[in-house]
């Protein structure tokens, strides 16, 4: 099998302006932060950012102007509060409202090779008003009306994993989020990994036939966590929030971009 190991900057080269890019992990856990750093450096713009829950690196991408459109069910910093740049720029972003079900079933529809998946969700809320593209459908058995969530097929998925081999067979420990689904549904999939191994052990999370690039990125999720290798670097996230609250996003961003592949306290 062909070796797919490339550098971060080569991997970022797979992203085109206007792409929908799906980032794995959840909020502050196992985020592809090293990739996001390189993506900001690359100055690719106009991206649609897709995430189960968008957090630290997503806020940096928004602050740096890489993102035009956001698709997520939550954009924030959990116990650290609102995501400062998302909150500040919300009026200028195009926000495509999603929920856990619309994201999960949207990817599932793509994985099933069909145009939609039905669910008992969203009705009685204003989500259907601000997502006029989302249709409803009548159950041929019960007559009930369900929401028909449209397929979501990201252009690029970026998943940070604990271990991968050179062909992109990777494993995930803990916290699966929607990573396996993103990696399978995307047109191109990039794995960034803490470790490159000869052969992974345990239930695999990705299939090499659906992986295009593998990047060795130790500490590649820092300051978000990569269980069980390192935990959330809370002080760093708080430093970010504090910097933004002082109006010093640009200074923080410069430090972040300077930070190389690995940040350490």
């Amino acid at each position: 099998m062909s070796d797919k190991v490339v550098t971060l900057s080569e991997a970022v080269g797979l992203v085109e302006p206007g792409d929908t890019i799906a980032l794995g992990g959840m909020t502050l856990y196992r985020r592809p932060v090293a990739f996001a750093r390189e993506l900001i450096r690359s100055r690719v713009k106009d991206l649609t950012l897709l995430a189960l829950t968008a957090g630290y690196e997503s806020d940096l991408l928004v602050g740096a102007g890489s993102v035009r459109r956001v698709r997520t069910c939550y954009f924030g910093l959990e116990i650290f509060g609102l995501a400062p740049m998302f909150t500040k720029k919300a009026r200028d972003l195009e926000i495509i409202e999603e929920t856990e079900v619309s994201l999960a079933l949207g990817l599932r529809a793509a994985l099933s090779g069909i145009g939609f998946q039905p669910a008992r969700a969203w009705q009685g809320t204003d989500l259907l008003k601000v997502r006029p593209d989302v249709k409803t459908i009548s159950c041929p058995y019960t007559g009930e009306r369900y929401v028909a969530f449209p397929a979501i097929k990201p252009d690029v998925a970026v998943i940070h994993v604990q271990e991968s081999d050179c062909q992109g067979t990777a494993i995930l420990k803990g916290n699966l989020a929607l990573d396996r689904e993103m990696a399978l549904a995307a047109k191109q999939t990039i794995i960034t990994t803490e470790r490159l191994v000869e052969e992974v052990e345990g239930q695999i999370a990705t299939f090499p036939s659906r992986v295009d690039a593998v990047v060795l990125a130790p500490k590649g999720a820092y300051p978000t966590s990569c269980y069980p290798y390192y935990r959330l670097a809370s002080q760093e996230v708080l430093d970010y929030v504090d910097a933004c609250s002082r109006g010093e996003f640009e200074e923080y961003l410069a430090r972040f971009l300077d930070g190389g592949e690995v940040g350490e306290r």
Binding site: Y74, I79, T99, V101, R108, D126, A233
Partner: protein, 284 residues
């Protein structure tokens, strides 16, 4: 509001809210934990350590189901949840099938609530030119379409939260039977609400005061609510936490006082956060 040290018959409002949450958990229940909800996590653990030892948790941080617990933590929440999981789920499974089938109880924290228990976690002000964009509703618009086990908590009861009309509906309240049927909604709406002033339900489709917290007058609760409240026939004072409950909370469950963060904002919140994180880093 800080923890008042002293005899255990004294308690803070955070501790009372946690105790009210705890009391809604019955033994063997499956309790879902969202993100950034320390009052809820503390309440679930308190239940497990008192009247509900067989409680099981479905946790978003870590993405798993577990029956073990650890003291509240910011930096270590994920590893604590993943230490001995019963079941690790993907959100495809969780959102697609599992949560509908195993039907956990979950406490949500709305930014706005209307009289019939609809709620909002998406935006304040006009959707297209918001005063404040909120993080989003997670799975609330999904769960409130089917779950009979939706619970609410509001740490800062005010007329800004309890409004006649929401800026955006992202969680469904108590609908008329006909409307529910038309919208294929199975959920009967939120079952319970606890705030820093009292406890409530939405019986009959209107927010109703069940109990006022010790020292809180009913008039004050009504004044802080942007619409007329119904009153339960057996309206009473909220039973306070027991000495044991307060002790467990302060010493076992949340020695760092993370639960207090939910009632703070701005610079005070960040300062408290830094204090907690530094104490965690020192190994507390």
């Amino acid at each position: 509001m800080g923890v008042r040290l002293g005899s255990a018959d004294r308690f803070t409002i955070d501790e009372l809210i946690v105790t009210c949450i705890s009391r809604q958990a019955k033994n063997s229940d499956l309790m879902a934990q969202g993100i950034a909800t320390p009052l809820v996590v503390a309440g679930y653990i308190l239940a497990k350590l008192t009247h509900a030892p067989d409680l099981i948790f479905a946790v978003a941080i870590g993405g798993c189901i577990t029956n073990s617990w650890a003291p509240l933590s910011i930096s270590r929440a994920e590893e604590a949840n993943l230490e001995r999981p019963l079941y690790i789920f993907s959100f495809d499974e969780a959102a697609g099938t599992l949560m509908f089938t195993i039907q956990p109880k979950e406490f949500f924290r709305p930014a706005q609530v209307d009289p019939r228990g609809d709620f909002n976690n998406v935006v304040l002000g006009d959707y297209y030119a918001p005063k404040l964009r909120l993080p989003g509703c997670g799975g609330i618009a999904d769960v409130t379409n089917y779950s009979p086990r939706v619970y609410l908590y509001v740490p800062r009861h005010s007329r800004a939260v309890f409004v006649e009309r929401l800026d955006f509906v992202s969680g469904v309240g108590v609908l008329e039977e006909e409307e529910r049927k038309e919208l294929s909604i199975l959920s009967p709406g939120p079952r319970y609400l606890v705030t820093n002033l009292g406890t409530f339900d939405f019986e009959g489709g209107r927010m109703r005061l069940l109990s006022y917290h010790p020292g809180v007058r009913v008039e004050r609760i009504q004044k802080k609510t942007g619409f007329p409240l119904a009153m339960a026939p057996d309206l009473h004072e909220t039973p306070p936490p027991s000495a044991e409950e307060v002790m467990l909370l302060r010493e076992e469950i949340d020695p760092l006082g993370i639960r207090e963060l939910e009632r703070l904002s701005g610079g005070r919140r960040r300062a408290k956060l830094r204090e907690i994180i530094e104490r965690e880093a020192e190994g507390f």
